[in-house]
């Protein structure tokens, strides 16, 4: 099957290996994952608080392009992009006046959006649609016994809906344990990674990262698996500094969940972009 994904800015920047590994994993499972052509910035979370209408217009343009091309499900790997794109439908219901004005402006430039595109995280696509059973067929047992902490961050499963799972998603755990990995009980899985506070209010941002790393490190994991580019960056980039700051060695590999899957499927590390990680996981133990 052919899937279209929305790369956003990170799949071509700090999260390049996320995009690369996703494409490789989808291919290994017999599916094509193609980028949405001519996409633009998602609208960015922080921009919403400065100019809602413009931020929503940016988001809606992407959805409009997807709708025009008959894309029913837009695969969105970055959970921040996912939140912003989801807001278009959310605001349509809650603040129809605002969305009407955004859409009528868009119509003047020949774009429209009827609300037919569903935003899906690749983890949902792989778990719900592809299924763990068909992944098992592709599995090589390379990571059997690999101790992994599943970390979703705060944005996966949001904006909050009626779902009772938003504080406690379990898809990654079920997938990895289904593939023979050793999934640890990591209660911090939806705690904040510090977000942009690692840049703006360092003391708060780095403290958040420390707690997450410490929790995983104490569980003796081989790696933390993430679903969000900003989480991955925050958790990985400051490890040396944080270990010194808090006087505790909290260095631990932090990978995208798709990279973990790719390793299990025996995809060459280069195709998964593993060389881009600061600290690739040691497979010696696996």
């Amino acid at each position: 099957m052919k899937y279209t994904y929305y790369p956003g800015c990170s799949m071509e920047g700090t999260g390049r290996n996320y995009g690369e590994s996703l494409v490789a994993v989808f291919k290994a499972l017999g599916h094509d994952l193609e980028p949405l052509a001519d996409f633009n910035c998602c609208g960015f979370i922080a921009y919403m608080s400065i100019d809602q209408a413009q931020a929503l217009a940016l988001a809606a343009r992407n959805l409009s392009l997807a709708e025009q091309r008959g894309v029913a499900e837009l695969v969105t790997p970055c959970t921040a992009c996912q939140v912003v794109l989801n807001r278009v439908d959310d605001f349509r219901v809650r603040y129809p006046q605002l969305m009407d004005s955004v859409l009528s402006t868009m119509r003047e430039s020949g774009l429209d959006y009827r609300g037919t595109v569903k935003i899906k995280h690749p983890l949902e696509v792989l778990f719900d649609d592809v299924g763990v059973d068909s992944m098992k067929e592709r599995a090589k047992g390379k990571l059997s016994g690999f101790r992994v902490a599943c970390y979703y961050g705060c944005l996966y499963n949001r904006p909050h809906t009626i779902s009772e799972e938003h504080f406690f998603p379990t898809k990654m755990e079920e997938m990895f344990s289904g593939l023979g990995m050793e999934v640890v009980d990591y209660h911090l899985k939806t705690k904040c990674c510090g977000g942009s506070l690692t840049n703006t209010v360092e003391a708060v941002g780095l403290d958040s990262v420390f707690k997450l790393l410490q929790g995983a490190k104490r569980l003796g994991v081989d790696a933390i698996a993430t679903t969000c580019p900003l989480c991955q960056f925050n958790l990985e980039a400051y490890q040396g500094r944080i270990s010194a700051m808090f006087d505790e060695d909290v260095r631990v590999p932090v990978m995208y969940f798709s990279e973990v899957l790719g390793l299990e499927f025996g995809i060459p590390e280069k195709e998964l972009g593993l060389q881009r990680l600061f600290a690739p996981p040691s497979l010696a133990r696996a």
Binding site: H160, E164, E165, F167, F168, D185, H187, L188, K211, G215, R218
Partner: protein, 659 residues
């Protein structure tokens, strides 16, 4: 109108003190009314509902000046009955009366006096035209069965059954569990007096069990209900216990001899075990064991049968099957209680992951001397906790779960704090949003707990975790909450956490609601007829509700409702017969084409198709006068008394003809 000869209509316009007269020009309306066709007399009076006011109507009727009556006054909900009665007293049929509402519909809601007067005139014109076509009608008397059914054997149902039975009425008490007693039977102490729940409940249970007027149908469920107020027919499924009730004397030898004793006890919330043959608790009523078929080896491979071998009265009956019994009752009291909130739905509280995070119901069993730990408050490893946290509002006052307050949790949390403190000497931390201790003696209890040294932290628990941040937290559960009184986030390490879980509607509340023709409020609890003035009645006549099935409530409130609902049921079934409003549908058979549109629409099964004569047949005793069939009938064969097409059309003409 010709059909009624030359009607002589009397129109009486009420001032209602200043309520109407301040806005509506009453003399003007009276003058207008006198000019209408068939109006013989039009009068005004300060308070038509007063005795002299009614006397005016009665005298005019007696004097033969009028033979039909219109009163323009308040809402018919207030005084339609009053004036129908006055009409009857004056010697006319009470249904030759029409009410015009010029208070709620006019003077109270219309700012402009002239407009209000115009509107009052048009309503009077409409009422006059309609009453001219009114027909004399008879109220029907139906007999009422004086048996009563109580569904649910918790404290509310027990009370209701006792009140009805003590008044000499035969009561069937249906309970789905093997014993009556409900949630209260599980509890240790009761707030705020701390008397033991069993000590005050079990005497009541024994009374129920021994009462000559109460037939306890335990381990049974209502299958379906038909009929109507005063004459319900109820089918009850008596689930197979595999014990012959007539032979068993409750000696308990089968329980003792059953070799399979490791089934998690439902009554003990899985904290203790029970045998496959069991009674939920020692004081069970009826004193009859039940065989848990699912876990019984005999039912799996035909072996064992120890109970049967040892039973001295040969009461074990493996061949027993479910039985349906049919009951006829005049009134029903529903007291089906509540379901405790499933704490694992809030993953951040770690219930199910952390062994020492327990629910309030589990704590009740643990604190109970007859419970799995013999009343000792201990952790899973058997040691005594040194610090215990109690989280209020778990699943209550939370938009993600239940937005309502469960009303009882603050008080039972205080009770828990007292018990923990008394029996273990542990430090106790109560985390609350607001302290809600409204009730007689409740606030005093709160003050007593403060004096005992319980710590109160004002803030909803955000999370319970075993991930430590500082060395003091190592090896403990940590409760994190924002203390909103001092504005900081607190992390308090404890050994055990009790989750004060919400009260929710029973899982099958919707099904029960449907069976008895009730409604539910938005939160899923059964809906009362009026939130203030009819709290135990429902919108279906003859069906009453009591206790936590109507909404979260504590024991005193449940008892009060149980007694109240029973009194209501009693006043209904004691009247022997009842009058029905004659607003039922009636059928003109010659007009019926046999299309059967109406048959499927009738919610009360009052319409059936007569296959032989190819027309519908209407059972007026079942008809509630909802009017659905009348609206749907394409040929006008079905009409409704008090609301015939021509009466309604004439009323509309009256409104439109004016001005």
């Amino acid at each position: 109108m010709e059909r009624n000869g030359h009607p002589k209509i009397g129109v009486y316009v009420c001032h209602c003190g200043v309520n109407i007269a301040d806005k509506v020009n009453v003399p003007d309306v009276v003058e207008f009314a006198s000019s209408l066709p068939y109006v013989a007399i039009a009068r005004e009076y300060q308070f038509m509902c007063s005795d002299p006011g009614q006397e005016i109507i009665e005298q005019d009727l007696r004097d033969g000046l009028v033979d039909r009556v219109v009163v323009a006054a308040c809402s018919p909900l207030m005084h339609e009955g009053t004036f129908r009665h006055a009409t009857e007293e004056g010697g006319a049929n009470p249904f030759l009366y029409q009410h015009a509402n010029i208070r709620e519909h006019v003077s109270w809601v219309t700012a402009d006096g002239e407009l209000a007067t115009d509107k009052a005139k048009s309503l009077v014109a409409a009422a006059v035209r309609r009453v001219a076509l009114a027909e004399p009608l008879e109220r029907k008397q139906v007999p009422i069965d004086d048996h009563a059914l109580v569904v649910g054997g918790g404290i509310a149902g027990i009370e209701a059954a006792l009140v009805l039975a003590n008044a000499g009425r035969k009561v069937y008490l249906v309970e789905r569990e093997p014993s009556i007693g409900g949630h209260m039977a599980m509890f240790d102490k009761t707030f705020p007096t701390l008397d033991c729940a069993a000590c005050i409940l079990t005497p009541k249970m024994v009374q129920v069990g021994q009462h000559p007027n109460i037939e306890v149908l335990a381990y049974s469920e209502v299958e379906d209900v038909s009929g109507y107020v005063g004459n319900f027919e109820v089918r009850v499924r008596r689930k197979a216990r595999y014990i012959n009730e007539d032979l068993c004397n409750g000696c308990g030898l089968c329980i003792e001899k059953c070799p399979w004793k490791n089934i998690p006890s439902e009554f003990d919330q899985g904290l203790g075990n029970r045998p496959v043959v069991y009674m939920p608790f020692p004081q069970a009523v009826p004193r009859l064991p039940v065989i848990d078929r699912e876990h019984c080896v005999y039912f799996q491979n035909g072996k064992c049968g120890a109970c049967k071998k040892f039973c001295p009265r040969d009461a074990i009956d493996f061949e027993q099957e479910d039985k349906i019994v049919e009951l006829k009752v005049g009134a029903v009291v529903i007291a089906t209680g509540f379901k405790p909130f499933d704490a694992s739905r809030i993953p951040l509280y770690g219930y199910g992951r952390f062994p020492n995070v327990i629910t309030s119901v589990e704590f009740e069993r643990m604190a109970n001397a007859a419970g799995p730990t013999g009343g000792k408050i201990v952790m899973k490893d058997g040691s005594v906790p040194k610090r215990v946290g109690i989280a209020h509002c778990v699943g209550s006052r939370n938009q993600n779960y239940n937005s309502y307050c469960s009303t009882v949790c603050c008080m039972y949390s205080l009770k828990f704090a007292h018990l923990v403190h008394e029996r273990t000497g542990a430090e106790v931390y109560n985390f609350y949003i607001d302290m809600r201790t409204a009730g007689k003696g409740y606030e005093d209890f709160y003050h007593r707990l403060m004096a005992e040294g319980t710590h109160f932290v004002r803030g909803r628990v955000a999370e319970i975790t075993d991930v430590p941040q500082v060395p003091e937290e190592d090896g403990h559960l940590v409760i994190q909450a924002e203390d909103t009184l001092i504005g900081v986030v607190r992390r308090i390490p404890v050994d055990m956490v009790i989750l004060s879980i919400a009260m929710e509607p029973q899982a099958d509340a919707t099904e029960v609601r449907r069976k008895f023709g009730m409604s539910c409020s938005g939160d899923g609890f059964f809906l009362e007829k009026h939130p203030k003035l009819a709290p135990t009645a429902t919108l279906t006549d003859g069906i009453f509700i009591a206790g936590a099935c109507q909404g979260p409530k504590d024991i005193p409130a449940s008892v009060a409702q149980g007694q109240g609902a029973a009194a209501q049921a009693l006043s209904l079934i004691d009247s022997g017969s009842m009058e029905l409003e004659p607003n039922t549908a009636f059928l003109t058979e010659e007009l019926c084409s046999g299309c059967r549109t109406c048959v499927g629409l009738c919610p009360y099964n009052a319409l059936a198709f007569d296959e032989e004569r190819k027309v519908v047949a209407l059972n007026e005793a079942l008809c509630k006068g909802c009017g659905v069939c009348v609206a749907a009938c394409p040929s006008g064969a079905l009409q409704q008394h008090l609301y015939t097409d021509e009466q309604i059309l004439e009323e509309i003409r009256g409104v439109l003809a004016y001005g």
